[in-house]
């Protein structure tokens, strides 16, 4: 939104101090995150509600898919680490480093999305559709695809955003602040996944 990183905090001289002492854009990212957390929460509640009321809920995930999910967790949490490297580099004015680490993070996100899509396609290959699957309650597909789909949408959006931020940052129009703010978003995507894994994968593990 802003064109330059103002070195001087505009609050200092002419305005009342913000109660949180963070830039507005960071505050807005936090607010967006809690709002989005509630949106994801509503999805997970809906899933729990329907699953809980079903007698024939399928538990199809083989150990292989669980290990795959764990690998995805590893990739996503690691990308959370690399975006922290990017933030750190940006704060130390290491523009090349920050650029590199942001792109590596976006690469991690891409890898995650690819793994996820591979899993989706194998599930679709097994006959899972939005409202149909070979094992039991047809709502399984609906809840699985909506929750993981919404999450993947966030990942893909994040990858695009991080790429744009990295390029704009290298061009000098963005500052460390922007990388930090988008790192918050990226961590949030990671956190959502921390809930998706146990709720969607582990609970539906083959027993």
């Amino acid at each position: 939104m802003s064109q330059a990183n103002l070195a001087v905090d505009p609050h200092a001289a002419v305005m009342e101090e913000s109660p949180f002492a963070i830039p507005s854009s960071k505050l807005v990212m936090w607010l967006f995150i809690i709002s989005d957390a509630v949106t994801f929460g509503a999805f997970l509640f809906a899933y729990g509600y329907i699953r809980n009321a079903s007698t024939d809920w399928p538990t199809p995930f083989e150990h292989a898919s669980i290990w795959n999910a764990l690998l995805m967790t590893f990739i996503l949490v690691t990308s959370s680490l690399t975006i922290l490297f990017a933030v750190r580099a940006a704060q130390n004015d290491d523009r090349a480093g920050a650029f590199k680490w942001t792109l590596i993070t976006a690469g991690g996100g891409t890898l995650f999305a690819i793994l996820h899509l591979r899993e989706w396609s194998s599930l679709i290959g097994e006959g899972v559709r939005m409202f149909q699957n070979p094992w039991g309650a047809p709502m399984f597909g609906a809840t699985f695809f909506t929750i993981t789909g919404l999450h993947m949408l966030h990942v893909i959006g994040g990858v695009i955003a991080l790429t744009v931020v990295a390029l704009t940052y290298r061009a000098g129009r963005y500052s460390a602040k922007h990388i930090e703010i988008w790192s918050l978003y990226w961590h949030f995507v990671d956190i959502v996944w921390m809930f998706v894994v146990p709720m969607v994968y582990l609970l539906n593990m083959k027993r």
């Binding site: 949180f20 936090w30 929460g41 509503a42 009321a53 930090e180 961590h187 921390m194 809930f195 593990m205």
Partner: protein
């Protein structure tokens, strides 16, 4: 009150050591969850509690909420938890649905 921006919230002050510890902890919890679920079956409440643990340390140390002014955490977290907590009122109907389905 301090009117200049505090050099907080970005890992500058607290080094990367914490970050690595948090990173390893989150992954360890994830592995524990999976192993536990594979051996003893998934226990929803335990899984959820562990996820909340993961999420809270991620929020506090990856997102540096712990390093921000405390008032930010106090504004955001109780509010979100309250709203999500209220949603739990739907469960009793979900259970009824199971017992009172037609036929």
């Amino acid at each position: 009150m301090n009117t200049t921006t505090t050099p907080n919230a970005s890992g500058k002050s607290n080094g990367m050591a914490t970050t690595y510890v948090v990173y390893v902890t989150i992954l360890a919890i994830a592995v524990y969850q999976v192993c536990f679920a594979m051996m003893a079956g998934p226990q929803p409440m335990l899984m959820l509690a562990l996820a909340i643990l993961q999420a809270s340390i991620a929020v506090m140390y990856f997102m540096h909420l712990a390093a921000e002014r405390q008032v930010l955490a106090l504004a955001l977290i109780p509010y979100t938890i309250f709203v999500l907590f209220m949603m739990n009122m739907i469960w009793s109907d979900s259970v009824r649905l199971l017992h009172m389905r037609p036929h």
